[in-house]
C-alpha cells in the first residue's frame, strides 16, 4: 500500500515504450531482446543437452526446430541477436559519455542534445540490420 501511495508507475510504466521517444523504445527493445536471448540460451542448452541421452533423443529434439513454428522462433532469435548487439554497442559507447554531444547554451524549444539524430540513426540502423538478418535467415530456413 505504501508503494501505491508513493504513486510509482511500477513495471507497467517501466515497460511502456510509447511516451518518451525513440531512446525509450530502444531501451524497451534492448530489455526485451536481452531477456529473449537469455530464454533462448537456456532453451538452447537444454536442447543440446539431449545428445547425452543418445542419438534418438537428439534427433527427436532437432525435428522440433525443423517445423515452421521452430523456424519462426529461430528467425526471431536472429533478429533479437542482431538488434541487441547493434544497439548494445551504441549503449556501451554512450554510457561511457561518448557520442552524446557536448553541453552548451540551451535555447528554446530546449531539444535535448543527447537525444540527437545521431543516436536515433544508430537505433534505426540496428533495427534495419536486424530486419535484413531476419529476412536472410527466413530465406535460408524456409528456402529448402
Amino acid at each position: 500500500m505504501a508503494e501505491r501511495l508513493s504513486n510509482r508507475e511500477g513495471i507497467k510504466g517501466m515497460a511502456n515504450p510509447t511516451r518518451y521517444g525513440m531512446l525509450r523504445v530502444a531501451y524497451w527493445l534492448q530489455r526485451l531482446s536481452g531477456l529473449g536471448l537469455l530464454a533462448y540460451l537456456i532453451g538452447h542448452i537444454y536442447e543440446t543437452s539431449t545428445i547425452l541421452n543418445g542419438k534418438a533423443a537428439w534427433d527427436n529434439m532437432l525435428s522440433l526446430t525443423e517445423t515452421p513454428g521452430g523456424h519462426i522462433v529461430l528467425v526471431i532469435v536472429i533478429g533479437m541477436c542482431v538488434f541487441h548487439t547493434g544497439n548494445g554497442i551504441r549503449v556501451m559507447i554512450s554510457e561511457g559519455g561518448k557520442g552524446i554531444g557536448r553541453p552548451g547554451q540551451p535555447e528554446y524549444p530546449y531539444k535535448a542534445v543527447s537525444l540527437s539524430s545521431k543516436q536515433r540513426l544508430c537505433i534505426w540502423v540496428s533495427i534495419a540490420l536486424a530486419a535484413l538478418a531476419m529476412m536472410y535467415g527466413a530465406g535460408v530456413l524456409f528456402g529448402n
Binding site: R19, G21, R24, S94, Q105, S114
Partner: protein, 260 residues
C-alpha cells in the same frame, strides 16, 4: 542569434468564415481528485472550461478553483516555468502546467493527474521531500577551501568555455518531471534519479570545484548511477533543456576513466 519570425496575417478566403481568434473554445478538463489518507485511487471530476489559444493548463485549473470548485489542490508559484512547482501528468506525460498551452495538446479533453513516482499530498500536489533530500546529498555547492574572497585574494576566473561545461545543468528548477518519466525511478524507490545525478555532474564539471571524488563516491553505489540505462526519458520531458541524460553519461564517463 535566434530570430523570431512574425507570422504573416492570414487573409485567405477561409479566414473570413473561421471563428474569431478571441472567441473562446470549450474543452473538458478532467482533474484527478485524491486524498491519500482516505482513498487509494483517484476519482476524476470533469469541468467544462472556456479556453483561448494562449490558455495554459495551469490557468484552466485556476479557472476551476475560482469559478467551479475551490477545493482542487494544486501547487504553483511563478507561472513562468521558473519555480518548478507545477509539475503534473498532463494527458499521460509529465509537464509543467504553467508551460503547457491547452492548444498545443490538440485534444478536446485534457486529463491532469499527480506526477508518478512521487508520493501524493492531495489531488495534483506531490511530495518532493525525497527528491530535495537526494539533491542535498549530491553536495550541490562548489567545494573549495579557497572559495572565500579575502583581502588580497581575487574571485575565480572562469572562461566562457569553462562555464559552458556546466551552465545548462545549472538551469535545473527541481520540478521533478525527469524523475517522473524515468523508467528506473518507476520501480526503484532508492534510485538517486536523473535530477540528483545531473546536479552531481553540474558541480563536478565546474572548474572551481574540488569535490569530484566525494561526489563520485556518492553516486557509485548500488542504487546510484549504474541503474541508469540511458532510456533518455528524463531529457525528453525536461522543460529547461538541462538534458540530465547527457549529464549522467558524462558523469559515468568520469567513473569509467573516459572523462577528464
Amino acid at each position: 542569434m535566434a530570430t523570431v519570425e512574425v507570422p504573416k496575417e492570414e487573409k485567405d478566403a477561409h479566414a473570413a468564415s473561421a471563428p474569431q481568434q478571441s472567441e473562446p473554445k470549450t474543452i473538458t478538463l478532467r482533474i484527478a481528485r485524491i486524498n491519500p489518507s482516505e482513498q487509494h485511487e483517484p476519482k476524476f471530476e470533469e469541468f467544462k472550461i472556456p479556453v483561448q489559444k494562449w490558455t495554459t493548463v495551469l490557468e484552466a485549473i485556476l479557472f476551476v478553483k475560482q469559478n467551479l470548485d475551490h477545493s482542487v489542490a494544486v501547487r504553483y508559484s511563478c507561472r513562468q516555468a521558473s519555480c518548478g512547482s507545477c509539475g503534473m501528468k498532463i494527458n499521460g506525460k509529465p509537464r509543467l502546467a504553467c508551460y503547457t498551452k491547452i492548444s498545443e495538446l490538440d485534444s478536446p479533453v485534457i486529463t491532469v493527474e499527480p506526477m508518478n513516482n512521487f508520493p501524493i499530498i492531495r489531488d495534483l500536489a506531490v511530495d518532493f521531500k525525497q527528491m530535495f533530500a537526494t539533491h542535498k546529498r549530491m553536495k550541490p555547492f562548489v567545494i573549495n577551501e579557497e572559495s572565500e574572497v579575502k583581502p588580497g585574494t581575487k574571485e575565480f576566473v572562469q572562461k566562457p568555455e569553462d562555464l559552458e561545461k556546466f551552465l545548462q545543468f545549472s538551469y535545473c528548477i527541481k520540478c521533478g518531471l525527469c524523475n517522473s518519466a524515468c523508467p528506473t525511478m518507476s520501480t526503484d524507490k532508492s534510485f538517486i534519479g536523473p535530477q540528483g545525478l545531473a546536479q552531481a555532474y553540474r558541480y563536478t564539471a565546474d572548474n572551481r570545484d574540488k569535490g569530484k571524488n566525494e561526489r563520485l563516491k556518492i553516486v557509485d553505489e548500488s542504487h546510484g548511477i549504474w541503474r541508469c540505462h540511458f532510456a533518455g526519458s528524463c531529457s525528453y520531458v525536461c522543460p529547461k533543456g538541462v538534458d540530465p541524460a547527457m549529464a549522467i553519461q558524462l558523469l559515468r564517463g568520469y567513473l569509467l576513466g573516459f572523462g577528464k
